[in-house]
């Protein structure tokens, strides 16, 4: 493939809530089982006496208490993501590359996975970070997160004055994630209850909003300050370095290979990243504008992030896509958003749909 037709891929690492019922069994195929990322995650969990992602994924049925609990969901999502990224890389050895990963971003916990994908932390250490942050959640959920749409059914902007007002008035209520057309709001139980009372019901896909994310803390808000302090203490031994692939963080900062300052990546990851809003929308916008990918790739259980990504694409008018209808049309003709959990889209990327069992 010539340079003109080489695909420029943007990898988007999904956050913790992404591994859902449909994902069960997805790590059992041959491709995933060859993944160094998944193997490392299994090794790490075994060394800690905990079930590894492969084992969790092989459970006969999906159980919230097992799969949604933060101490499992984090490593499971990360391992599934890494398995797909490894599959992508294996399909294209470095010396025969036709596609290029131009940048990596993450959503929320997906940032930690992104650190591993881009090489800002050695793989084992990135997994250690993910595991540590996940274990902090075991029996220790602090506040919660609530989702509310800021777009209509056609994904056109639909501002919420009630939400804006609540954010200025209700104590302990904060933006948690700017997630395309969705607001993820974090806060204390009381604050979220008050928010629930104030927000008119809106449809968000198949369900009514606002709704709570189960077993999620008030990530990316000041309520997590103690967690950040703990992480800085527990994770002081990590060997941070400039990434080998461009990373764009949750405030839209571009971290370049070679000269990104490792100390700054560390300070943000274990500091403001934990306690301040994660602006996924901005990180994606920066990636689309500055790195002009031809395709946005959602590895692992990232399909659930597709809506948010699409909403940012539409808001940007990226590649001329300016409406939900235009996006759907493009996806049916020549997808620009590739969810690796969808066999037909995965095949576009690595040409071997059969390797992965359908969800």
């Amino acid at each position: 493939m010539s340079a003109d037709t080489a695909r420029r891929l943007l990898i988007v690492c999904p956050g913790r809530g992404s591994y859902t019922k449909d994902c069960l069994g997805s790590l059992q195929g041959a491709a995933a089982q060859q993944s160094p990322g998944l193997a490392a995650a299994d090794r790490l969990r075994a060394s800690l006496g905990r079930p590894g992602p492969t084992e969790l994924d092989a459970a006969p049925e999906y159980r919230s208490a097992l799969h949604v609990a933060g101490e499992n969901a984090s490593i499971l999502t990360a391992a599934a993501t890494l398995a797909d990224v490894d599959a992508l890389r294996s399909a294209q050895p470095a010396d025969q590359q036709t596609d290029q990963i131009v940048a990596v971003i993450g959503n929320s916990m997906g940032w930690y996975t992104a650190l591993a994908v881009a090489g800002a932390l050695p793989l084992d250490q990135a997994l250690h970070l993910i595991e540590t942050m996940g274990q902090y959640q075991a029996g220790n959920v602090i506040g919660g997160q609530m989702v509310y749409p800021l777009v209509d059914a056609e994904w056109r902007p639909l501002p919420s004055p009630e939400l804006a007002q609540a954010l200025t008035e209700v104590p302990d209520l904060h933006w948690s994630i700017r997630l395309g057309g969705q607001a993820v709001i974090g806060g204390s139980e009381a604050a979220l209850a008050e928010l629930q009372r104030r927000l008119p019901i809106r449809r968000a896909g198949e369900r009514d909003a606002p709704f709570r994310l189960p077993l999620h803390s008030a990530f990316h808000t000041p309520l997590m300050a103690e967690t950040a302090r703990r992480a800085r203490r527990d994770l002081s031994g990590l060997r941070w370095r400039a990434p080998a692939i461009t990373l764009i963080d949750g405030r839209g900062a571009i971290l370049r290979p070679r000269h990104a300052d490792p100390a700054r990546i560390r300070d943000w990851t274990l500091g403001a990243q934990v306690t301040e809003v994660y602006d996924f929308t901005l990180s994606l916008r920066v990636a689309l504008r500055e790195y002009a990918p031809t395709h946005v790739v959602l590895p692992g259980p990232g399909g659930s992030l597709g809506g948010a990504v699409a909403q940012v694409i539409i808001a940007e008018g990226w590649q001329g896509i300016r409406s939900r209808e235009a996006f759907a049309r493009r996806q049916s003709e020549a997808p620009v958003l590739i969810s690796m959990s969808r066999p037909e889209q995965r095949a576009l990327l690595i040409g071997s749909a059969a390797e992965r069992p359908a969800g």
Binding site: A116, P257, A292
Partner: protein, 781 residues
């Protein structure tokens, strides 16, 4: 066919790097890269360690070359900004060839200015010239979420999505990066940079800014435009202030490429003229060699920040790719000269620095160069798909927004009554009728009380109180930080206003005579009035410029003190131009202008008729009919509203004649109208009051009730107001008879001869009678 220099420069770089000798790899660098890539390229993350590095051995923090302060990490980052800037230039030319780009003035050869950006903070206001590509890319890296390359591409493509000018021009500008938009400027941005530097310090003294505010202002320009009077004036003014010990934290950056389009700058000229100038520090750096320019920029910026004094940073650069895409250098430079300049490409020198130091291999340099090329090329394709401006209304919308309701509310917002009582003594609205100069003085005092951020300044404005005493006593009452004298330089006076506005103050500069405005006109025409337009309202420079103008000074003064030319003001897009005649109107119009500046960021100019400053009588000596009482503080006159003078007790309805005028012409017209009425003529007089925007609705409404319209234009026949008034009447399908009297197209002479070329009462009377003799005139509608 001309050689494609962009292609030559591009290939020169590639060949030069390919020819570089591979230096011995620094073990630490090698291990870092090996380790980093192991995870992602070879799927062999061992996670076992750090390649021998401990936390405290960050090798990238070492100097890029022994003996220099610039670290390898910083050099790497700067190199990327340099390459990005270069590829933006190359992409501009490639897109131009496809008719998708509309601007090709580039930054090639100036990429050392990335180091200037690195030496500054992103909150340091930066007024940049058009070769600031690498500076812009570097500053964009200092603020998360910025998209420096894409924004430039959108500008090149004139896309409506471009975040600052929205496709109205290719500018370097960004609100988040504290870069007011600037385009093909020839040093016209230097006066406002100076104004802002002074305003930051004034703001601290006035308590408008925190004492800890240690921002400095930077402005960049070339060696050719350094010769421009605007640059010379701004640097002179900075030194004038520094000489007196007045803080002025301003970094002038002269990027000296040795040539202005085709005219070479004499060897050594910049250094010879400035390196020993009193009141100005001078630091030189080699913009072709990153460690040197970084050192120089760091030293200069640190010095300005610490000592709050101006400094000129003289950066040696080269100009590659000609002045612009359309410039064929070979018509004025020899091929050898062009090739020699290209061989000094700063990008080659940075590559050499990094390769010879063992920080990068030649292959890595080329890989990086091509990676950035691919990225910017791809982003360019996305940028040209973005929407462009498609209708005139959208283009014009941000020019000069005006919200009359908000302006009215702002005028009505009361000032502190205690402060008014204290500073006025007896409240002016309780006083009897007074003349124009006194009432303007009181209005200014009221506005200074109401707006703690308002400043009033000009030549002789402060201590003397103005040449006509209009600002008399204000400095004493308000203080020297807010009412002050300036040096004699109108470009600087207006630049102080622009800069103060940029710093959040509300400037009311005074230009002593209308004729002196003309030598500084570009500060309003090219800069002040274009700012909201080129920034979609993100930046604004509200101000009210007071100008003493018009003629009729009984033979005194000659041309410069009697200038009656408004043509150069009327066509400035967005400028609000007021010309009050009466004391009460002047007060209310001043309030309107200041409120419009406050709420809408308006740029206003009030031409005050000198000849009416002290006038008290209208029809007869001692009648006091031109004096007026001070209007209640909440009253104002909306922009674009005229005033009708009818005979006392006259009934509404058809009139024989409408005389349209303003200022001195109004005063004369009212006298003539009184005579005509005595002869039974139903005569009305209209005071336009606003010369821009013209009160067209009021004009047409009044004209439709009159069979004839006589325009009394005290300005020049050519380019005066009558032309516009007639055009408005014709556009409005006015069907009555029209005539005008106007000043001659000449400079006003001294002595009684002035009256020979200015409109006189007898001219008005004669023209009115002639017009009235036209029996064919029917109703105006």
């Amino acid at each position: 066919m001309a050689v494609n220099r962009a292609g030559v420069v591009d290939q020169n770089f590639i060949r030069a790097v390919q020819g570089m000798e591979r230096a011995e790899r620094r073990a630490d660098v090698d291990s870092l890269i090996r380790e980093g890539w192991a995870v992602v390229q070879n799927n062999k993350g061992d996670g076992q360690g750090d390649g021998g590095r401990g936390d405290d051995s960050d090798w990238w923090a070492n100097p890029v070359r022994e003996g220099w302060a610039l670290t390898a990490r910083a050099a790497m980052e700067l190199f990327e900004s340099q390459i990005e800037s270069r590829h933006l230039d190359l992409t501009a030319r490639a897109l131009k060839a496809r008719d998708q780009c509309f601007y090709t003035i580039g930054s090639s050869g100036h990429e050392g200015n990335a180091a200037v950006a690195a030496a500054l903070r992103p909150d340091d206001p930066a007024f940049l010239h058009y070769r600031s590509g690498a500076f812009f890319q570097q500053r964009a890296k200092q603020v998360p979420g910025m998209t420096g390359s894409f924004d430039v591409l959108l500008g090149l493509a004139a896309s409506a999505d471009e975040p600052i000018a929205g496709g109205r021009h290719k500018v370097f500008g960004s609100l988040a990066l504290n870069i007011p938009p600037q385009t093909s400027t020839i040093a016209s941005h230097l006066p406002k940079a100076l104004g802002m530097a002074l305003a930051i310090e004034r703001g601290k003294r006035l308590g408008l800014l925190p004492e800890s505010d240690d921002r400095i202002v930077v402005c960049t320009f070339g060696d050719a435009s350094l010769n421009h009077s605007t640059a010379q004036g701004a640097i002179n003014a900075a030194r004038w202030h520094a000489h007196q010990g007045i803080d002025c934290p301003l970094l002038f950056v002269c990027e000296d490429n040795g040539i202005g389009i085709s005219v070479p700058t004499p060897d050594g000229w910049v250094a010879a003229t400035w390196q020993e100038a009193p009141g100005l520090a001078y630091v030189a750096g080699d913009g072709l060699y990153l460690p040197d320019v970084a050192d120089a920029a760091e030293a200069a910026a640190r010095w300005v920040r610490q000592y709050r004094r101006p400094c000129l940073l003289h950066v040696r650069t080269v100009r590659l790719l000609g002045h612009a895409g359309s410039d064929v250098e070979s018509t004025y430079r020899s091929p050898e000269d062009i090739a020699a300049t290209e061989a000094r490409d700063p990008l080659i020198q940075t590559a050499q620095l990094l390769v010879s130091g063992g920080w990068m291999s030649p292959e890595e340099v080329l890989s990086l160069y091509e990676e950035i090329r691919a990225r910017i090329t791809a982003a360019g394709e996305e940028a040209i798909r973005r929407p462009r401006l498609t209708d005139a209304a959208t283009v014009i919308a941000p020019l000069a927004p005006l919200h009359p309701d908000r302006v009215a509310a702002e005028v009505a917002r009361p000032a502190d009554p205690a402060a008014r009582a204290a500073l006025h003594g007896n409240l002016p609205e309780r006083d009897g009728p007074r003349h124009l100069a006194v009432q303007i003085n009181r209005a200014l005092l009221d506005l200074l009380i109401k707006y703690p951020e308002m400043i009033l300044f000009g030549e002789d404005t402060g201590k003397k109180g103005g040449v006509y005493n209009v600002t008399n006593g204000l400095q004493k009452k308000i203080g020297k930080d807010r009412v002050f004298d300036t040096l004699l330089d109108e470009q600087t006076i207006l630049g102080l206003g622009l800069g103060a506005a940029a710093a959040g103050q509300l400037p009311v500069p005074e230009i002593q005579y209308l004729a002196y405005f003309h030598n500084a006109c570009d500060q309003i025409r090219g800069e002040a009035c274009s700012l909201q337009y080129f920034s979609q309202g993100q930046f604004r420079n509200p101000m009210v410029v007071r100008v003493q103008g018009f003629a009729y000074q009984k033979g005194f003064g000659g041309h410069f003190h009697n200038d009656n030319s408004v043509a150069a003001l009327r066509d400035i897009p967005g400028l609000i131009l007021a010309a009050p005649a009466r004391p009460d109107d002047a007060v209310k119009m001043l309030r309107t202008c200041v409120a419009a500046a406050k709420v809408d960021g308006a740029v206003c100019m009030i031409v005050e008729p000198i000849a009416l400053y002290m006038t008290r009588d209208l029809y007869a000596p001692g009648d006091e009919k031109w004096a007026a009482t001070y209007p209640a503080p909440e009253e104002h006159i909306p922009v674009g509203r005229a005033r009708i003078y009818d005979a006392e007790g006259a009934e509404a309805g058809a009139a024989d004649l409408l005389i349209v005028s303003w200022a001195n012409g109004l005063w004369m017209s009212l006298r003539v109208a009184a005579e005509l009425r005595e002869k039974g003529v139903r005569c009305r007089v209209m005071d336009l009051r606003w010369l821009n925007p013209l009160p067209v609705e009021d004009l047409l409404a009044a004209a439709r009730g009159a069979a004839r319209v006589l325009v009394v234009d005290e300005c020049r026949r050519t380019g005066g107001m009558a032309e516009a008034i007639f055009a408005a009447l014709v556009d409005g399908r006015y069907a009555g008879s029209m005539a005008r009297v106007a000043g001659a197209d000449v400079y006003i002479p001294l002595g009684a001869a002035a009256n020979l070329v200015l409109v006189q009462e007898e001219d008005i009377r004669a023209a009115a009678l002639t017009l009235l003799a036209d029996q064919g005139a029917g109703e105006g509608t």
